[in-house]
């Protein structure tokens, strides 16, 4: 075994290895003795270590952005970055992969924290959720560094299958089960589309490596090109499902609503981010941008997603469903940046996803904190949030900033992301898409503000309600406050984050 990999490769693989070790450790721990706090902490520590490892990988690349005086000693301290590393034909770990690994791991960590607060009130087995979370995270890590259809597909499934278990985690809840079965069936259909598409592409190019596909696709003759395109189209349809892009979006609100709130947070952030990162890498390396027809299809999907997502959210009275619809629209926006192509587009996608993850985690985090004390189902109707300001001012502040950020108000994170998407679009003169983006944002403002107003209305029956502040809610609360500060920080002083995103370049060929 040892002979297969060099030290640098082991190093580059370290986040994946650490998460795998965590999974094994957690499983043994659960088998040995069930203890909520211990298991949660074990997984959280593992994810933290993996996050540190991912950060460590890119750190040397960030030194050049620092003041000149610091550069030499830091370079001496850190040594050269081991990136990019090609590990077997399946994986490449470049700074792009490391950045998205960090994002996925951070989202998973936030989910773990929220889950702990949430599961305290759960009367079944509480421990498996961390195991499933770690497994799904492992899938996310594989997805963002895959450069081969095998890794693409197995990573995607490893990302999804634990999610079936997480979505249906509250097995006594009909809504949770319903969401799980919907997600399972539809996700499997999407997987079948992806697999069939891959098979068609493979049948014409004879390779499963992204870069090789790009190189050989041009040489495929006549009718073979059409098969390639059909394969690409099927692949795209499956991926569009995972990203809940229209018209493959119908599952999104149902699953978001039925799943436990922390799982929804994970589903909306880590899972989608990883898949989008994969899609971008695939399109760049396999030269998907060369196929005009695929880009046109993507444009149509983007327009449809923005319009449908925003329209469906318009009069929605359920906060989880509202956020689901808004996420459909948001992935439409980021698709605009995606379609623009080029280095600025890669940067714009990175910035957008970063701001989106932070904001969405905060929003669903508030839903989680509101929900955990209830036993029956999550606090998700807007009515539950009416007059929240008078009961829970801090949660209200966090949710307010999150909604403003989702709406893209300046000085919040969302504005920076949207600004980048627009800048990327302007750069390539995508006027139609930009017009739809602006229109969609205008509609979006309406429902975000509509939800926000509810927070400050005085409910006729002010429920004097305050949850007991124990350690679990404490960590969740601190994490949410940190997210709020991060949203503001990103909005006011995004430069360091942008520097990180700029360092995340695709290095695999």
């Amino acid at each position: 075994m040892n002979a297969m990999f060099t030290t640098a490769q082991w190093l580059a693989l370290s986040p994946i290895l650490i998460v795998s070790a965590t999974i094994v450790g957690a499983m043994i721990a659960v088998a040995f003795r069930r203890h909520h706090w211990w298991n949660a902490t074990l997984v959280a520590v593992g994810l933290n270590l993996a996050l540190l490892a991912a950060t460590w990988l890119v750190l040397p690349l960030l030194v050049d952005g620092l003041p000149v005086a610091w550069q030499a000693p830091l370079h001496a301290l850190l040594g050269p970055s081991p990136l990019p590393q090609f590990v077997t034909p399946l994986l490449v770990i470049d700074s792009y992969a490391a950045f998205y690994m960090g994002l996925v791991l951070a989202a998973a960590l936030a989910t773990a924290t929220l889950s702990y607060a949430y599961m305290e009130g759960h009367k079944g087995n509480q421990e498996e959720v961390y195991l499933l979370l770690a497994l799904s995270t492992l899938g996310g890590l594989v997805v963002v560094c895959s450069r081969h259809f095998a890794a693409f597909f197995i990573g995607l499934e490893l990302l999804s299958i634990p999610l079936y278990g997480m979505v249906g985690y509250l097995v006594r809840e009909r809504r949770s089960l319903e969401a799980s079965v919907k997600y399972l069936v539809l996700s499997a259909v999407a997987s079948a589309f992806i697999l069939f598409g891959m098979a068609l592409i493979y049948s014409q190019t004879g390779t499963l490596l992204f870069a090789e596909i790009g190189a050989r696709a041009a040489a495929v003759a006549g009718a073979g090109q059409t098969i390639l395109l059909v394969g690409g189209g099927l692949l795209l349809a499956g991926i569009a499902f995972k990203l809940s892009l229209a018209p493959f979006h119908l599952w999104t609100p149902d699953v978001y609503e039925g799943a436990p709130a922390p799982v929804t947070a994970y589903l909306a952030t880590a899972s989608k981010t990883a898949v989008f990162a994969l899609l971008l890498r695939y399109y760049v390396e396999a030269r998907g941008y060369d196929h005009r027809a695929l880009i046109d299809v993507l444009s149509a999907i983007a327009i449809l997603s923005i319009v449908i997502g925003n329209v469906l959210a318009l009069l929605q009275d359920n906060l989880k469903r509202l956020l689901a619809y808004s996420s459909i629209a948001h992935f439409g926006y980021v698709l605009v940046a995606f379609i623009a192509a080029g280095p600025l587009a890669v940067e714009a996608v990175g910035v957008y996803l970063l701001t989106y993850v932070v904001t969405t985690l905060a929003a669903f985090g508030v839903v989680t904190m509101m929900s955990s004390p209830y036993r029956d189902h999550d606090a998700d109707t807007l009515w539950d949030y009416r007059g929240l300001f008078w009961r829970r001012p801090y949660l209200t502040a966090i949710l307010t900033v999150a909604l403003l950020s989702l709406a893209g108000i300046p000085l919040t994170a969302g504005f920076i992301g949207k600004f980048y998407a627009v800048a990327a679009g302007v750069d390539k003169n995508l006027w139609l898409l930009l017009a739809v983006l602006v229109l969609g944002s205008a509609i979006g403002l309406y429902y975000y503000l509509r939800a926000m107003v509810q927070l400050y209305l005085r409910a006729p029956w002010v429920r004097r309600y305050a949850a007991p502040l124990n350690w679990a809610r404490g960590t969740g609360g601190i994490m949410l406050l940190a997210l709020m500060l991060l949203m503001l920080w990103l909005g006011v002083y995004p430069t360091p984050f942008i520097a990180v995103v700029q360092a995340a370049v695709l290095g695999g060929q």
Binding site: V181, K182, V185, L186, V189, A190, F193, T226, L229, V230, G232, G233, L234, L236, A237, A240, F241, P247, F248, L250, W251, P253, D254, H291, R292, A293, L294, D296, V297, A300, I308, V311, L312, L314, L315, L344, A348, I416, F419, Y420, A423, V426, D427, I443, V492, Y493, P494, T495, I498
Partner: protein
């Protein structure tokens, strides 16, 4: 040393945040310590920076501190930067120095008020915004500060929000200045459109290459900027909000509506002087606006009965002097007068606040009287401050600055402006001493015991401002020469002596006339006021020439009429139509979310079929 510049506005900002997040749960002492202390720290830091600036001036006469690049995507690059030069240093001195004294006074004035901490949080936010306004290196950030001070002004005018009249006054101030702000914003867009930058220094250096002198574009831009300036500085025709703004607590009137915010227009014109020099018409208009405003406000001040409204009109009139000076090309005297005015007007307002509290919140001057023995400190303040306002020769700060303005107007050939200024000075000394004589001389006509304030927070600000309002303040030299253009006329010479003598004589004559009219029995004034033209004139002047009435007829009522008539017009229908259409779209599309698994799967299959069809046939 210079790299601490950002702390100057960071302190008050931190004070605001702490007080705001404490949500009224801090006691008065702590709130005062935070609110006053933060501004005090800024003032100390400003003093240190000024010392450094004067002893070791930075290269090029200006220091720029880039705090951070906000973002740079493609060609778009925005940075947060502060610029310290002679002009911003002068403004900073006024804002933090006078601001600190007023905060200190307010700690005494506001005691017992239930919104004590809220008051200081707003005040701190105001100071931070105002500093941002004068330190911002880009017009964008200047605009941000501009809106920030407007917001604070609104919040503080309506501070006692339980009285609906105060809310109405706040709204009026907000709406009227909004008109100017809108013009200002359009001007900024136009400037950005033609120069491609909002960086002040870059814009000023590009402008002469880009615009021919007197070209329509630069004239339009400067006129739009002037629109913002007259709105903020309460000059004609957007002056009507300032007297009503006196509804706020008196320290607010002193800080925002006398010493700092209302002079932002003067600052803006001085900051963009290069543009105005390219647009002579606009510059003339600046002077004209100033001259007309100072006269109209002077007449109105003559007949007011509310102590704060007299001072409000005098503020309008004094800012008129600053505009007049800028119109004559004398930017340095304008800023000089801005500073001395801040000293003596803050002094007068604080002293007026002391009088008002002593008389149990009485503001009508005819219900006061004979207060000189009971409130000796306030009397002294009014004498010195009023003297400075009337430009009493040689002893007061106001004389030095106003005389400089008059001399520059005269010597640069703006004879009309000169005579207007001179006549205005005459009016000023009459109404100022009318106020003093009515309030402090004669018999006490009010109700209840008069009780003077005491304590350090009460006495110290008054005494310091009193000293600064004498010739001491006139001796302060502002390092403006590198930033603003040289004065149009030479200093010194016999002619200037004569002009100084003339203006001094006018001031003394005005005081003498006021003494004759208002000291002792006021039979002559009473007879004059009873006569038919006198009644008419005083009513007209009292209503400030009926601008409120006029605007009400010209804008407010027609607007309300139009809105009433148009309640269901085409525009409305179009807007409502969009809403209805979106709703219908929502109702239609939400049916797709019917919760049925097979339907969802079918939608995916249909999507895939469509995608394949598209890639085959496109």
């Amino acid at each position: 040393m210079y790299d601490l510049l950002y702390l100057v506005f960071a302190f008050p900002l931190a004070g605001f945040l702490v007080l705001a997040f404490a949500r009224g749960r801090v006691g008065e002492r702590l709130a005062a310590a935070i609110g006053v202390g933060s501004v005090g720290l800024s003032a100390l830091l400003t003093a240190a920076l000024a010392g450094q600036f004067l002893s070791h001036p930075p290269a090029g006469g200006a220091y720029t501190q880039t705090l951070w690049h906000w973002m740079s995507a493609g060609a778009f690059d925005v940075r947060f930067a502060l610029r310290l030069d002679g002009l911003s240093l002068s403004m900073m001195g006024v804002i933090t120095g006078v601001g600190f004294l007023i905060h200190l006074f307010a700690a005494w004035y506001m005691r017992g008020d239930e919104g004590y901490a809220r008051f200081f949080s707003y005040m701190n936010l105001f100071v931070a915004s105002m500093l941002f306004l004068v330190l911002g290196d880009s017009l964008l950030f200047l605009y941000l500060g501009w809106e920030g001070v407007g917001l604070c002004s609104y919040l503080l005018i309506g501070f006692w929000y339980k009285d609906p009249a105060n809310g109405a006054a706040a709204r009026k101030a907000f709406v009227v200045t909004r008109v100017g702000d809108t013009l200002f914003a359009i001007g900024l867009f136009l400037l950005f459109h033609s120069l491609g930058t909002l960086d002040i220094q870059q814009a000023l250096s590009l402008a002469p290459q880009q615009f021919a002198p007197g070209s329509p574009t630069v004239t339009l831009i400067t006129l739009l900027l002037l629109g913002g300036a007259v709105g903020k500085s309460a000059q004609l025709p957007l002056q009507t909000w300032l007297p009503d703004a006196m509804a706020g607590p008196t320290p607010v009137s002193a800080l925002i509506h006398a010493a700092t915010m209302v002079t932002a227009g003067v600052y803006l014109v001085a900051r963009t002087h290069t543009l105005y020099e390219l647009a002579p018409f606009s510059l003339h208009l600046v002077g004209g606006v100033g001259a007309v405003t100072l006269l109209l406000a002077g007449f109105s001040a003559l007949v007011q009965t509310d102590i704060k409204r007299v001072l409000a009109y005098s503020t309008m009139s004094q800012i008129g002097y600053m505009f007049l000076a800028e119109g004559a090309g004398a930017f340095q005297p304008a800023i000089f007068h801005l500073m001395t005015h801040a000293f003596f007007k803050a002094l007068l307002f604080l002293a007026a606040g002391a009088v008002i509290l002593a008389c149990h919140h009485e503001q009508d001057i005819f219900k006061m009287g004979g207060l000189r023995k009971k409130l000796p400190l306030a009397y002294a303040c009014f004498l010195v401050g009023g003297g400075a306002l009337a430009a009493f020769p040689y002893l007061t700060a106001g004389f030095y600055s106003k005389d400089e303005i008059l001399w520059q107007a005269y010597a640069s050939g703006h004879i009309g402006l000169f005579w207007a200024g001179l006549f205005g000075a005459f009016l000023t000394s009459i109404y100022t001493f009318r106020l003093i004589f009515i309030v402090f001389h004669g018999e006490y006509r009010g109700h209840g015991e008069v009780h003077a304030g005491h304590g350090l927070a009460y006495g110290l600000p008054l005494v310091v401002l009193l000293i600064l309002s004498t010739f001491v303040g006139g001796m302060i030299h502002q390092p403006l020469s590198g930033v603003l253009p040289a004065n149009p006329a030479e200093e010194g010479g016999a002619l200037q002596q004569q002009v100084a003598a003339l203006s001094g004589a006018v001031a003394i004559a005005g005081i003498a006339l006021a003494g004759a009219l208002f000291l002792g029995e006021r039979r002559f004034v009473a007879r004059l006021a009873q006569s038919a033209p006198g009644r008419w004139l005083s009513r007209w002047w009292f209503a400030a020439f009926g601008f409120d009435w006029l605007y009400d007829r010209l804008f407010v009522r027609p607007f309300l009429y139009v809105t009433r008539v148009n309640a269901a017009d085409v525009f409305d229908l179009a807007v409502a139509g969009i809403a209805t259409g979106l709703r219908a779209l929502y109702r239609g599309s939400v049916r797709s979310e019917n919760g049925r698994l097979r339907w969802y799967a079918a939608s995916m299959a249909a999507g895939a079929v469509l995608v394949i069809a598209a890639v085959i046939y496109l």
